[in-house]
């Protein structure tokens, strides 16, 4: 998926889906991401790993998409993990308490390892 300033790359590893966000997640691009994530959630993955390493910017509109994904996946017993946020995105996540409710990891590898039992 590509919407000009946000590119989303998704791949599947075992029962985990890894979604990499590249660019800016703002009030406009969050709509497209929401649609993309809803499609992923229809497959009810055990773990959805959101790779933030190349995400430069996020606003509250983007945070709402992440919250909605967490809520939806929780119903089917799945987990949404956040990985590798840069300094700015990390500060937004910690200011809003997201680092307390989402499992957060430094790398995608660490997230996969922590969820090995669920996705193995």
């Amino acid at each position: 998926m590509e919407t000009g300033i946000l590119t989303v790359e998704t791949k599947t590893e075992d029962l985990a889906v890894i979604t990499k966000l590249i660019g800016r997640l703002d009030v406009l691009t969050s709509r497209d991401l929401d649609q993309h994530i809803q499609e992923i959630l229809q497959t009810a993955p055990k773990v959805l790993i959101i790779d933030l390493a190349r995400l430069d910017y996020v606003s509250s509109a983007g945070l709402r998409v992440l919250l909605q994904a967490r809520k939806t996946l929780k119903v089917s017993g799945g987990t949404v993990c956040l990985c590798a946020a840069n300094e700015f995105v990390g500060s937004v996540l910690s200011t809003t308490g997201f680092t307390g409710i989402f499992p957060c990891f430094d790398t995608v590898g660490a997230a996969l390892q922590a969820n090995a039992d669920a996705i193995g």
Partner: protein, 142 residues
């Protein structure tokens, strides 16, 4: 439409559409580059601008027949000051009830945007002038 007044001041008239948020944040980024504002400051300021404009466009001006919205910004020393003016009903975002972020995972929490603005900017001021909301935000760098 953009009316650069000087290198150290920018004024933008905006239409009442969400697409304008991207336009405004890009203009602000270019203004910051021209004025050599340290780049780590800018995502925070762009975030504040996006949150405020989104609120005004989707709520404040949504039912105003002749909506008017403008942004001006200038630099004073090591301070970037934004002023957002709209002719919507009186609304002081500083008076919004505080967000309980410990409940953020339990229910739909509104007001996250304004909460972020208040936490991440160095100052937020509000006044009602000539039947318009005038919101002033600033960020200081060292």
């Amino acid at each position: 439409m953009t009316f650069p007044i000087s290198e150290a001041r920018l004024k933008i008239e905006l239409t009442c559409q969400l697409e304008e948020v991207g336009h405004a944040t890009r203009e602000l980024e270019q203004f910051a580059e021209r004025n050599r504002i340290p780049s780590p400051v800018m995502p925070t300021v762009q975030l504040a601008l996006e949150e405020i404009l989104t609120n005004i466009i989707t709520h404040g001006l949504a039912s105003v027949p002749d909506p008017k919205l403008s942004l001006s910004c200038h630099v004073s020393g090591q301070k970037l000051i934004l002023e957002v003016t709209d002719n919507g009903p009186e609304f002081d975002p500083r008076k919004m009830p505080p967000v309980d972020i410990t409940k953020v995972g339990e229910r739909d929490v509104g007001g996250l945007g304004v909460y972020l603005v208040q936490k991440m900017m160095d100052g937020v001021d509000y006044s009602r002038r000539d039947n318009c909301n005038v919101l002033t935000l600033w960020k200081i760098w060292r």
